[in-house]
Subunit: 378 residues, 2 copies
Amino acid sequence: MFEILTTDARARRGVLHTVHGDIQTPVFMNVGTCAAIKGGVSSRELIDIGCQVELSNTYHLHIRPGDGLIREMGGLHKFMNWERPILTDSGGFQVFSLAPLRKITEAGVHFASHIDGKRIFMGPEESMKIQSNLASTIAMAFDECVENPAPYDYVKTSCERTARWLVRCKAEMERLNMLPDTINKNQLLFGINQGGTYADLRIWHMDEIAKLDLPGYAIGGLAVGEEAEEMYRIIDEVEPHMPGNKPRYLMGVGTPVNILEGVHRGIDFFDCVMPSRNARHGNLFTWHGKINALNEKYARDPRPFDEGCGCPACRNYSRSYIRHLIKAKESLGMRLAVVHNLYFYNELMQKIRDALDGGYFESFYQKYRIELAERLDD
Amino acid sequence: MFEILTTDARARRGVLHTVHGDIQTPVFMNVGTCAAIKGGVSSRELIDIGCQVELSNTYHLHIRPGDGLIREMGGLHKFMNWERPILTDSGGFQVFSLAPLRKITEAGVHFASHIDGKRIFMGPEESMKIQSNLASTIAMAFDECVENPAPYDYVKTSCERTARWLVRCKAEMERLNMLPDTINKNQLLFGINQGGTYADLRIWHMDEIAKLDLPGYAIGGLAVGEEAEEMYRIIDEVEPHMPGNKPRYLMGVGTPVNILEGVHRGIDFFDCVMPSRNARHGNLFTWHGKINALNEKYARDPRPFDEGCGCPACRNYSRSYIRHLIKAKESLGMRLAVVHNLYFYNELMQKIRDALDGGYFESFYQKYRIELAERLDD
């Protein structure tokens, strides 16, 4: 199912075969929380900007419009008119970061909807059922995501429970995939490594979940408060314990440099709200570093934001025009900025894959870990 | 410059030849206030949805980003990457409806910017200069737009002054069009008829401004508080006094039925924020009347909103999905709704032109003045 085409030290160039088509890795998944990319980008445009995998959020879709409704509409692919792979998260991250009044037990989590306060229970079985209704290509295991730093004892108790939850997730998904009216009977389950910033817990947990022989493994609970160096250290500790023949997903990461560092350390999948969130504040990624579109010096600049960029925004509109739109709070401005940033991220991954294919990843990495960290207009 | 191809009673099928291409009339102009359609629709998409003329607002662009900046960027066409005709209003309507602290004299109007309170003066010469900087295809005369109803004496004084202002507008535009560094030396000036709801003032004013032999004439100061029947009565009174060989523009109008009634009374140009404003509230126009996309009965409806519609929203997305997006306040929902409504308006005009070309406008009018007034889901 996952094929490794070539490697360069720890970096891997692979392809994951799925029922919704192949995913060329390393890959960045484009986040469409509520079955749509923030900023007004449609699924038709995702194709133009090189998106391979769309990522939607189980928690949000469960609350609105409801996973039952999406199931009736034929699943998330039909609902949003997107035929390529979709990954759904488990809902765990949002339950632990958004929902008020939550109470965690061995069974799962009781919490209140952040929309209308309605009491909801979600455990491993509920998360699998919702994701089966959504019929995503890849479902994520239900886990507890602990903020960093957290006390050792709490993290230990939590990641032991997360390991037990994973066994239940696997059993439930196998059951659901066997049911005659399940939309995607080939739904894949990825396990999630937790353990905070404690190497021994991370390694113990990774070894535990590796035994389940799942189609993929993620590192969760990073980029949630700790420094980047701390994150790299944890990846370095955990990576040797991740099955070599399975895709590896670093959840919620990150900046272009974080991604380069992740690939360099053997990671295959990434996702982050950064390109769309930054765009909404006028921060654009370019091959010479990040720039602030609102800077006065772009007011009369007739050039595209990134002169070599082939995205629909850079092909058609000037810095001057896009700056005006963002300043005037015209939604077109945010949309063009989001389109540009997602295109940039997708192109970054394409260039990383090209570098791996071409055997020059190490020099690519050394060059761009410096250049992409620069900010042009500070 | 304006050619009438065929007529049906008072209705006219024409074409206005401009330096930015031909405008087939009757036409609906798509409103992009700040050089962008509200809802995140780009100039590239305006082509897909059949827009012939984009309309931008002089007052808004003067305040932000500034007409001087747009002139430096090569004019509004280059700024927003739109090659087809653009009409700019004069700023008068916004000065009288948006700007606080205004003081009107024979010279023009002193007012405060609604953005930062800065004191601004705008008279006929200033409006022409700004519109020349924007380099639109068609510039509108600077007028006072009086709310309906207003006292007879006030309207009389106001429309006499608006007539004197028009003489100054014409002289200033002729001067500007002769300058060597004017971007569009073929900019056209349309005069605007005023006179509130008083037939005698309307007719006197129309006769006065017709003497200036301008390339087009508008009826302003309607759809600003009076009933539709009152508006139709005024059009019936004024229309015989409008030059028959010049295009006629009913400003700020209106619903699909208002437009049908306008065409039936000899109007050629229309504009209105209604399609985009309605879309943002989930109200969609269809060939069977207006529907509310938020209605619960569409929650699980897999059909497009208008089954015969060829717009990018109806071709790709279901009622269920678009309803979800609008409810979740995803900007994609508003954008798809705006795209649909503008496509509907542009298609309505195409069908009106087809009916005039085909000699069946009267029966088209009789059928759709009833059907388009219906609301499906009330």
